[in-house]
C-alpha cells in the first residue's frame, strides 16, 4: 500500500508552530510522507502545495481564531481545483460554536488541545483508506 501523503500547513499570521511540528513528526514516525509548508501560508499556497505533492491529506494548524475566514476560502479553492477528495483535518483552538460550520465545510477531523497522536494517526488512516476503497 502506498504511503499516505500529508501536507501540514500553518496558514494565517500566527507563528506558534509547536503543534504543527509535533504532528508533522508524529505522522512521519507513523509511516506517512509528510511535507511541512512552514509559516504564514495563504490558502492559495496551501492548495498549490497539495496539487504539486499529490497530497491525500491537508492538516491545518490554526490557533488564532482565523479559521472562520481561512477555512471557507481553502475549501472553496480545493473544490475549484478538483481536489474534493483530499481529506482536510484541522487542529488548534476551535471554539465549540464554530465546530458545526467547520464540519459543514467538509472538514472531517477537528482536533483540539489534548488530542493524542494515536487518535490523529488512526483518524487519518481510517479515512484515507475508506476513500481509496470508495474511489
Amino acid at each position: 500500500m502506498p504511503r499516505i501523503r500529508v501536507i501540514i500547513a500553518k496558514p494565517g499570521l500566527d507563528g506558534h508552530d509547536r503543534g504543527a511540528k509535533i504532528i508533522a513528526r508524529g505522522l512521519r514516525d507513523a509511516g506517512m510522507e509528510v511535507i511541512y509548508t512552514g509559516l504564514r501560508q495563504t490558502p492559495e499556497q496551501i492548495v498549490a502545495a497539495a496539487l504539486q505533492e499529490d497530497a491525500d491529506v491537508i492538516g491545518l494548524s490554526i490557533l488564532s481564531g482565523a479559521h472562520t475566514r481561512i477555512c471557507p476560502r481553502l475549501m472553496e479553492l480545493l473544490r475549484e481545483h478538483g481536489l474534493d477528495d483530499v481529506l482536510v483535518v484541522l487542529g488548534g483552538i476551535i471554539p465549540d460554536p464554530d465546530v458545526p460550520a467547520m464540519q459543514a465545510l467538509g472538514i472531517r477531523g477537528i482536533f483540539r488541545p489534548g488530542a493524542s497522536m494515536a487518535e490523529i494517526v488512526d483518524f487519518i488512516e481510517r479515512n484515507v483508506r475508506a476513500r481509496e476503497e470508495q474511489g
Binding site: 494565517g12 499570521l13 500566527d14 507563528g15 506558534h16 508552530d17 509547536r18 511540528k21 509535533i22 508533522a24 513528526r25 508524529g26 512521519r28 509528510v34 511541512y36 509548508t37 512552514g38 509559516l39 504564514r40 495563504t42 488564532s64 481564531g65 482565523a66 479559521h67 472562520t68 475566514r69 481561512i70 476560502r73 483552538i93 471554539p95 465549540d96 460554536p97 483540539r112 488541545p113 489534548g114 493524542s116 497522536m117 494515536a118
Partner: protein
C-alpha cells in the same frame, strides 16, 4: 530501584516536568560546596540569588499585571478600566496578529486575524482610543510587541505627549525581544541583523529621552511554551540577554547606561521546585556575567528583574476548572522565586480568550497568595533548602554549559542562523509529547482521571465585527489625514534605515502624521527585506 509501595502509577523514574531526575532525599552533603556570601548572599546583595530587594515583598508587592486585549481599542479600553477598578496595578497590552506582524487589517494575510488574539492597533488614532481616560503618568504599561516595537512605543509616547505627561517620568516595558521571536514565537519581520539594530536604536533613544522605560523584556516565556525544558529556557534567555548587551556595547553604549533598563520575563510552569530554582539561578548567573564579562559597576545592571506568567501550555481544554489550581500553584512558585510582576492565566484560555469572570478569578488568585497565604512576609523562604539550593546550582551549571556552546558558535544571532535553539526546543517538545502519549507524564483530565461527560464552560467569542470596524476606520484615516506629511515621514524613515541615524525620531514623526502600522513597517521592509524561516520538522 523498585517502585515504592503505592508510588504514583507504579513509576520507576522520578523526574521533573523537564525530564530531570530527582532523588528521594537531599541532605547537607548536597550543599556542602556552597559558600553563603559567595553563592547566595542576603537578599539585595550580590549575587542576588535570594532576591534583589533586601525586604522582599514587604517594601512592595509584585505588580499584578494581567495581559489583556481583544477586538477594537474601545472594547479593550473598557476591559482595562475594569482591571484597574478591580485592584490591578499595571496594564499589559495584548495586540492582535496583524499588529504584531506590522500588517494593516486590509492585507491578505490579515484575513480572519483582526482583533482575534489581541487588540487591533492600526494608527495613533487607535492608541488614543485604547488609553482614553487612563492617565499614563500614573500607571505602568507593558506592551507585548516585538518586531514593530518601536512603532507601538512611538504611538504610546505620542499619546502621553498629548496627555501632557513628561516622557522622563513615564514607566513601563516594551517586550522588544526579537531574538526569542526567531527562536520560538516566530513573529519576526526583518532579518536578524537589522532587527537587532532597531533594538539598539531603542536602547539609545530611551537612555536620552525616556530613562525610566524598560527597553526590553528578554523573554524565556515563549521559549518554554514552544517546548523548551526549564534549563533551556534559562540558558537561551540569559544568552539572549548577553547578546543584547553585547550589541549595545558594540553600538557604543556604556554598559551601565542601558543595562539597568533591561528586564526579563520567565514562564511559571508546573514543576514547583524546578521553577523556583530556575529564578534563583537566573539572578545568580546574570549578576556574575554582567560583572565578570561586561565589567558592569552599577548594581542595577547586576540585578535581574523579571515578570512571570503562568504556563499557557499547561492549561487543558478538558475539565477547565482544574486550570485554576494549576495556575495557583504556578503563581506561588513565581512568588517564592521572587518575581517583580505576575500574570495569572485564566481557566478558559485553552478554549478561547478569557471571559471577564475568568480574568477576575485569575487576578483574585494572586490577591489570595499576596494577602492570605503569608508567603510574602519572608524573603526567599526556601533559601537554604538542601533540595532547592542543590537544584539551583545544578541548573546554573547546565545553563552555563549551553551558553558556552552558543558562545562557541559566535553568539546567539549566529546560533539562530544555524537553527540551533530552534532544533533543540523542537526536540524537547517532541520528547515531552511522547512521554505524555506513553503516560509517563500524567496530565490530569487528559491522559488520566478523564471525565466521560463534561459541562461546557462559557467562553468569550470574538466575531468579525471588530475587523469590519477596523477596516472602516483605516479607510477613514486614509481620507482624512495629511497625505503629504505621511509620505514625507515615510521617506525620512527609509533614509534613516538605509543609513545609520537612529530610527526612533522618524518613526515618531510617521506616527504623529497618522501613518498606519503597515505603512511604517513596509517602509522598513523595503530597505531591509523580510526574514523567511526554512521550514524544518
Amino acid at each position: 530501584m523498585p517502585p515504592a509501595t503505592g508510588s504514583p502509577a507504579g513509576r520507576r523514574e522520578f523526574t521533573t516536568v523537564s525530564g530531570r531526575p530527582v532523588r528521594v532525599l537531599y541532605t547537607p552533603a548536597d550543599v556542602a560546596h556552597l559558600d553563603y556570601a559567595r553563592d547566595l548572599g542576603d537578599p539585595g546583595t550580590f549575587p542576588y540569588t535570594r532576591g534583589i530587594h533586601a525586604t522582599g515583598y514587604r517594601g512592595k508587592l509584585w505588580t499584578m499585571r494581567q495581559f489583556a486585549g481583544f477586538g477594537t481599542p474601545g472594547e479593550t479600553n473598557a476591559r482595562y478600566k475594569e482591571l484597574l477598578a478591580n485592584g490591578g496595578t499595571g496594564l499589559s497590552v495584548a495586540f492582535d496578529l496583524p499588529t504584531l506582524m506590522g500588517r494593516d487589517p486590509d492585507h491578505p494575510l490579515s484575513l480572519g486575524e483582526v482583533g482575534k488574539c489581541g487588540v487591533s492597533i492600526v494608527s495613533l488614532a487607535d492608541m488614543e482610543a485604547l488609553f482614553d481616560g487612563i492617565d499614563l503618568s500614573s500607571i505602568t504599561t507593558s506592551m507585548t510587541i516585538n518586531s514593530p516595537a518601536p512603532v507601538l512605543f512611538a504611538m504610546y509616547l505620542a499619546v502621553a505627549e498629548r496627555q501632557g505627561a513628561d516622557w522622563r517620568q513615564l514607566s513601563g516595558t516594551i517586550q522588544n525581544d526579537i531574538l526569542k521571536e526567531f527562536i520560538a514565537q516566530k513573529e519576526f519581520i526583518y532579518p536578524p541583523r537589522p532587527s537587532m539594530r532597531l533594538v539598539t536604536d531603542v536602547f539609545r533613544f530611551c537612555r536620552d529621552e525616556v530613562p525610566r522605560w524598560n527597553t526590553i523584556s528578554v523573554s524565556g516565556y515563549h521559549i518554554r511554551e514552544a517546548g523548551a525544558t526549564a534549563v533551556q529556557e534559562l540558558a537561551f534567555t540569559l544568552r539572549d540577554g548577553v547578546e543584547y548587551v553585547q550589541y549595545g556595547v558594540d553600538a557604543g553604549l556604556g554598559v551601565d547606561e542601558f543595562v539597568p533598563r533591561l528586564s526579563f520575563f520567565f514562564n511559571a510552569h508546573n514543576d514547583f521546585f524546578e521553577e523556583i530554582a530556575k529564578y534563583r539561578a537566573a539572578r545568580r548567573i546574570w549578576a556574575r556575567v554582567m560583572r565578570e564579562r561586561f565589567g558592569a559597576r552599577d548594581e542595577r545592571s547586576l540585578k535581574l528583574r523579571f515578570h512571570s506568567q503562568t504556563a499557557g501550555v499547561s492549561l487543558t481544554a478538558q475539565q477547565p476548572y482544574n486550570n485554576v489550581v494549576r495556575t495557583a500553584l504556578q503563581a506561588l512558585a513565581a512568588v517564592l522565586g521572587g518575581t517583580q510582576s505576575l500574570h495569572t492565566n485564566s481557566l478558559d484560555e485553552a478554549l478561547a480568550l478569557p471571559t471577564r469572570e475568568a480574568v477576575t478569578l485569575a487576578l483574585r488568585t494572586q490577591q489570595i497568595i499576596a494577602h492570605e497565604s503569608g508567603v510574602a512576609n519572608v524573603v526567599d523562604p526556601l533559601g537554604g533548602s538542601y533540595f532547592v539550593e542543590h537544584l539551583t546550582g545544578e541548573m546554573e551549571g547546565e545553563a552555563l554549559d549551553i551558553m558556552g556552546v552558543i558562545d562557541a558558535m559566535g553568539g546567539m544571532v549566529a546560533a539562530i542562523e544555524r537553527g540551533f535553539p530552534q532544533r533543540e526546543i523542537a526536540e524537547s517538545a517532541y520528547r515531552y509529547q511522547q512521554a505524555v502519549e506513553r503516560r509517563e507524564k500524567i496530565i490530569v483530565g487528559v491522559n488520566e482521571f478523564v471525565a466521560d461527560e463534561e459541562e461546557p464552560v462559557p467562553i468569550l467569542y470574538i466575531d468579525e465585527a471588530a475587523a469590519d470596524r477596523q477596516l472602516a476606520g483605516l479607510e477613514r484615516l486614509r481620507r482624512n489625514r495629511d497625505g503629504d506629511r505621511v509620505r514625507r515621514a515615510l521617506d525620512g524613515l527609509r533614509e534613516a534605515a538605509a543609513g545609520t541615524a537612529n530610527t526612533m525620531p522618524p518613526i515618531l514623526e510617521a506616527v504623529r502624521a497618522y501613518a498606519s502600522i503597515g505603512e511604517i513597517c513596509d517602509a522598513l521592509r523595503e530597505v531591509w527585506g523580510e526574514y523567511e524561516e526554512v521550514p524544518a520538522i
